[in-house]
């Protein structure tokens, strides 16, 4: 068999000049080979389409059965565990799809009922397993929901992901910590961001702005110990929050620093908070 294959290969590559019969045989072999490959590809595509179709049907069936109950539950004092009583673990992903969009659109009691689904039902353990997994997709999904649901129990796990070599994991986990307002990790986010090659200053600032305004006091207390880059970021956060209490420290940096970027941030801050003391030094 090996001999024939080697011989055919030699014929095809032109090492041996084929006779008429041999040429026909080679052509037939190539055609059969291509037909088998095409057939396998068609079968693979059909299987994938079948799986997608079954997945879509399962999702549609689940949503048509579950959505009305879910909408009744939103904003009501109903125990979320009752809502999930007959939902299978394999259907949690569909449920999370529906909840995901609404987290950013609803407020008040509606938002509280969404948070309860994440924090007080078996979804919590489901997402916790995701957060501890090595799959980027699962980690960022869990981080999103824990951040949105203000879950205080997962801060340490989220922190562990800050030094991930995957930028998406860093962004989602840092944002989740900020949404939870875990002030004690604000410096860690600043520090860990330095190890992320693909993260821009704008993204970092957008993450830090997810913290409540009390992050300013926390950043101010650590300002002296930070390098110029982190100082610049902190000053931008002060500026966005209109945090006047940092004026003296920013003025001190303005008078002593030679870093142009940092000086620009000091000037912007002084202008925004109308720091009159800075005017003579401009």
């Amino acid at each position: 068999m090996k001999f024939y294959f080697a011989k055919n290969l030699a014929l095809i590559s032109g090492i041996i000049v084929p006779s008429g019969d041999q040429l026909l045989f080679i052509v037939a072999e190539v055609i059969i080979f291509l037909l088998i490959i095409s057939l396998l590809l068609v079968i693979a595509i059909l299987i994938i389409r079948l799986f997608n179709h079954l997945g879509d049907k399962r999702k549609t069936d689940f949503l048509s059965h579950w959505e009305k109950r879910f909408y009744d539950y939103i904003g009501s004092p109903t125990d979320p565990n009752k809502l999930l009583s007959d939902v299978k673990t394999s259907e949690y992903k569909y449920l999370l799809m529906v909840i995901r969009d609404l987290f950013s659109l609803l407020d008040g009691k509606d938002l509280d009922s969404l948070k309860k689904i994440i924090n007080e039902t078996s979804i919590y353990n489901y997402l916790l397993k995701d957060l501890k997994s090595k799959s980027t997709r699962r980690v960022i999904r869990a981080a999103y929901f824990f951040g949105a649901a203000n879950n205080q129990n997962v801060k340490a796990i989220l922190f562990g992901h800050l030094y991930s070599n995957k930028t998406d994991v860093f962004i989602y986990c840092a944002r989740a910590l900020a949404r939870i307002n875990a002030l004690e990790y604000a410096s860690a986010i600043l520090h860990a961001s330095r190890f992320q090659k693909e993260i821009s200053t704008d993204i970092l600032i957008s993450i830090l702005l997810e913290f409540k305004s009390d992050v300013c006091q926390y950043l101010l207390e650590r300002l002296k110990f930070e390098d110029d880059y982190s100082k610049g970021i902190s000053i931008q956060i002060f500026r966005f929050h209109g945090f006047r209490e940092a004026a003296n420290d920013v003025l001190e940096i303005f008078q002593s620093s030679t870093n142009k970027k940092l000086l620009v941030e000091c000037i912007k801050y002084a202008g925004t908070v109308e720091c009159i003391d800075a005017i003579p030094h401009l």
């Binding site: 959505e67 909408y71 939103i74 529906v98 950013s104 659109l105 609803l106 407020d107 509606d110 938002l111």
Partner: protein, 124 residues
């Protein structure tokens, strides 16, 4: 019986919010017609004269503020109350919508109970 139902036009491009609000409004006894973009909202308002229009500010094809202006500049539709719904909470945008004639301005995220209360207040 169905004729007594107040008709609400709801123009919103968020699928999840549309489904939730449609369910809540129907439960309250309103007849709701949904538009997922701004293309034919104004023409439909002129044709059907609903009791209330809820407009998302940012929508594909035609934005909510343009539709609001069209509704309010037509004497046939200018009396129809409009609630603006948006993520943009900037003072200028809110003022612009209210000056153009919006009855209410609600910023996302919002509470469905609050929106329903405002709708009830407007529709009486």
């Amino acid at each position: 019986m169905a004729e007594n139902k107040k008709k609400i036009f709801y123009a919103e491009d968020s699928d999840s919010l549309v489904k939730l609000m449609t369910y809540k409004l129907q439960n309250e006894g309103y007849d709701i017609i949904v538009f997922t973009n701004g293309e034919i909202v104004y023409e439909s308002v002129v044709a059907e004269k609903p009791d209330l229009v809820i407009l998302d500010l940012m929508m594909p094809i035609k934005d909510g503020l343009t539709i609001l202006r069209e509704i309010k500049s037509n004497p046939d539709t200018s009396n129809i109350p409009v609630i603006m719904l948006t993520t943009n909470a900037e003072e200028d945008t809110i003022l612009k919508a209210l000056e153009t004639g919006a009855s209410e301005y609600i910023t996302k995220p919002f509470s469905t109970a609050v929106l329903l209360a405002k709708i009830k207040k407007i529709l009486g």
